[in-house]
Symmetry: C2
Subunit: 230 residues, 2 copies
Amino acid sequence: MSEMKKAIVLLSGGLDSATVVAMAQAEGYEVYALSFRYGQRHSVELEAAAALADHMKVAEHKTAELDLRLFGGSALTADIDVPKDELDHSEGEIPVTYVPARNTIFLSFALAYAEVVGAKDIFIGVNALDYSGYPDCRPEYIASFEAMANLATKAGVTEDERVRIQTPLIDLTKAQIAAEGTKLGVDYSVTISCYDPNERGEACGHCDSCLLRAKGFAEAGLDDPTRYQE
Amino acid sequence: MSEMKKAIVLLSGGLDSATVVAMAQAEGYEVYALSFRYGQRHSVELEAAAALADHMKVAEHKTAELDLRLFGGSALTADIDVPKDELDHSEGEIPVTYVPARNTIFLSFALAYAEVVGAKDIFIGVNALDYSGYPDCRPEYIASFEAMANLATKAGVTEDERVRIQTPLIDLTKAQIAAEGTKLGVDYSVTISCYDPNERGEACGHCDSCLLRAKGFAEAGLDDPTRYQE
């Protein structure tokens, strides 16, 4: 029996990354999940990530500790209010929830992890809704990271196989993501998407991320099992 | 009086990065120094970095905490012996002291820092001696990181000015680096280059890094003020 191909999957504990784990597994990958404790205000997402990793039987789950509050500059890590009941960006503008260079940092850690376990594929759940506002969610950014990654590592020097950054959600709407994950059996009750949950892990229902998620489930005609605050 | 242009400089506490700080300052940059506590065995280098930052009057010095031991895979972070009295790599081979994706991770943090303080220039002290062995010290790697960085950040979306990764040491020998730094007044007694120093911060004199440093000073006809173990 041949060894399973390995993939690193960035796992935040939200709807998108849970769906990506299921998609990678459906493609036959043995999943090495990677989460980050980066000073985010909503650390209940890490509990969701751990629960998902367990529930979805990934091969390994690591949580990297790094403190992006060191630099500040985002509503998710500094003392800036998370916008409520409105999308926090317009076309061409950058949301205040943008964390400087976050995906670059996350993918860099994934690259280190990939090199150590011998994975060639790194999955990240960026999607079309994100890249309207976040520069590091755009397809051209992902392609340039992949090019860099192949020069950065041992793989780039000594092996034929290239590192690939896989973004299976990139052209999907939230509705399509929720539909795909439901088809693959993802238990979305374990996920949390809220930027500003309470201590019990209940979603606020009013932030950008909650609004997008609710809209997605509604459009897909699915019930969202997210627990909301009263 | 116009505001000084800002630069992020990766500061390890060694000969190379100390020289880079001096070179950036000589070019008129206000230096924001960035060091990393990444699980390295030789953490005395962080004391050297702090002393250098103070001594060289940088505008700000931050130390990011991140644990690369999470993944292992290097003599500098895992329980693998540091080679002594021999260069630990041959042409085309990767040294055991290589840390997977380290420069990519370090530059990613520098990119976040640059974005927050409004710096367009990131200096890193990679040089010709390194890129014979480390894939992430090669000029083509640096160029690809720079291309990625300009797609990753707000700068890439909303401003004309490009992020630049500057590698002023890339074509210099250790002898040329030591000569240049000495000319600029760098106090090399504050630096430490050893991969395996003792608790008092004294260099072993026998690892790859010590051998290269000693050779550099000798070729430059300079005295190396490094403190060696008895």
